[in-house]
Subunit: 355 residues, 2 copies
């Protein structure tokens, strides 16, 4: 029997997830931030990175692999830079605090780069980048590393993470430009979907244990960098992943991707690293000129003639804004399997599940 | 008759190119910088961006489209940011000066972002990023926009440039990590090579005038973003190009790519824009720790087991370092067609061509 996918109001889920993390031992503030970041993924339609990841976080907290009373602290600071140590606390509040401080410093001085070491999986990078859009005239960038999944061009085994980067740039009348992407061809979640559906995957998404291209989602053990094939310049996706890796690993002083633990069950602290950038537009030119210039470009792109077979040309972030409008109004459609997992966790924590 | 490709010493070419730009009316300083940037492309094996581009620059200078006595000036400055107007001068000296100042400000305060408007085609982005490696403990990034050549996912026509980005990160004992890439699948030069050889191009490199994939290099009029196909996530390459575009176009206050002129013969000033970043590693963590951490990663990557059929795993920049070692020792192999074009220009300028 196929169970219908329920639509659950955002506020119901937010309260439930906050309570869940409170019962697991997070402070009120950290539970609220973590719930907000996780729900933002589901609100924006990025279902693989929100509620569906809760069992992973719960397992790591219960296994004692995350510090629930971290001493989140500054380890280095200059007027335009700041480096944090998250003391193995939850990644979401660590990243939130780092980006908040990055934004404050950028407002003061024009530009700031912030890094975080000793952190954990932080959810969607887009959450932190779009924090910059809450301030007038600011742009934001957020990056992280993660467990090794991506195979460098010519290599057999994964050395790099999917190395996501998110960018948020405001516009005037047009919707902002919000890029939130892994630098791998696809995220691992796409392989899992194909496994559930028992369908082949397109050639170029994933590699088998010999580093060879596979279309069998059950043979897939690793991902290609953006570009997919050497002939289609996968070394560029590899190079971009390496750049993000250097900022989040070597510059932050976290582990580099091959040695990051976390989402794949490794029984040791993660030492994930993050990096953030924020800057004031009016440090470079008058804000109104910039916003009008953005509007001009984004309008031209959104009204560009589509190729035969395509409906329209999108600006990065458009699908997420549309999902958000729908889901805030009509609730979040939660997959029955995810709901069931959340009910099990609720029962274990002796808390009500209002769905 | 196939003419053998001559090897010409770097110093001979450097003197020739400097003289050529002097005779065209550049100042001594600007001619020297322009020659140095152009030769760096040939030295690093990026043959499409050096000597081969001289006829394009010469044509634009002779057509009066470039200002040979520009008032290169600061239009906005904060402690960690600086914005320049290049007054339609040559792109190479404008970009060189902007990156030099960006580096100086980063050394002082830890981090700097610089933009340039009203500029022209600046050669290889990698030249400016690697300027940061001349200083101990600095990292550099360089970006530019250019004429429209790249078709956003789902669109029919080019709106964006190949939006190159270069990144230079030092290591300790290992060679540095130097990424220098267009965010399109390939650069236009690859299509030109296929045209000369009358060979088909791989599906995914280029699009015809209807925005459809073509393998005919003569039908190709535009390029795909990295990712090549929607299924292989070309919208990510499009998103990255758009990010670089925003920094070089909207933030710098230059034209955005669709309205940039220059390398395709448009008879109007270019208004190309550039953006640069530099930062001190020791603003985030001790430099020696960073360099050792870079060495560890780069060594693991360079000694990684290759997939069957591949010789070795490379770090971005390795092919260019190897080309540089060869070409500095043995001279630059200049294509006979390029040499002939340079001889014609030399004759027109009544100057000797020492090859």
């Amino acid at each position: 029997m196929v169970q219908a996918t329920a639509r659950i109001p955002v506020s119901t889920l937010q309260q439930f997830v906050t309570d869940l993390f409170l019962r697991l031992g997070l402070t009120e503030e950290e539970a609220a931030i973590t719930a907000d970041v996780l729900l933002a993924a589901d609100i924006r339609g990025l279902d693989s990175h929100g509620l569906a990841r809760i069992p992973m976080y719960v397992n790591r907290i219960r296994s004692g692999l995350v510090n629930l009373r971290p001493n989140f602290r500054v380890i280095a600071e200059t007027p335009a830079t700041i480096a944090f140590d998250a003391d193995n606390g939850m990644g979401h509040p660590a990243a939130y605090r780092a980006m908040r401080r990055c934004i404050e410093k950028a407002k003061e001085i024009g530009l700031c780069m912030a890094t975080v070491r000793q952190s954990n999986h932080f959810g969607i990078a887009g959450y932190y980048a779009t924090m910059a859009l809450e301030e007038p005239g600011l742009c934001g960038v957020a990056m992280t590393n993660a467990t090794p999944l991506v195979v460098p061009t010519n290599a057999r085994e994964p050395y790099l993470s999917t190395a996501p980067i998110a960018v948020a740039i405001p516009a005037g009348k047009e919707r902002p430009f919000v890029l939130d992407m892994a630098t791998s061809t696809v995220a691992w979640g796409k392989i899992e979907i194909a496994q559930r559906e028992e369908k082949p995957i397109p050639a170029g998404w994933a590699l088998d244990r010999n580093g060879e291209v596979t279309t069998d989602p059950f043979a897939a053990v690793a991902l290609t960098p953006l570009g997919a094939f050497p002939e289609l310049r996968s070394h560029k996706g590899y190079g971009l992943a390496l750049f993000i890796e250097v900022l989040c690993g070597q510059l932050a002083g976290a582990a580099w991707a091959k040695y990051v633990a976390g989402s794949r069950g490794e029984p040791r602290p993660s030492n994930t690293g993050h990096a953030f950038l924020a800057w004031r537009i009016d440090a470079f030119r008058p804000l109104d000129d910039f916003l009008a210039h953005m509007d001009e470009m984004l309008h031209e792109l959104r009204t560009a003639q589509p190729v035969v077979g395509a409906e329209r040309v999108l600006v990065p972030g458009d699908p997420e804004f549309e999902a958000e409008a729908d889901r805030r109004a009509n609730g979040i459609p939660v997959h029955p399997k995810v709901l069931q997992e959340l009910r099990v966790i609720a029962t274990e924590l002796a808390m009500p599940a209002p769905f």
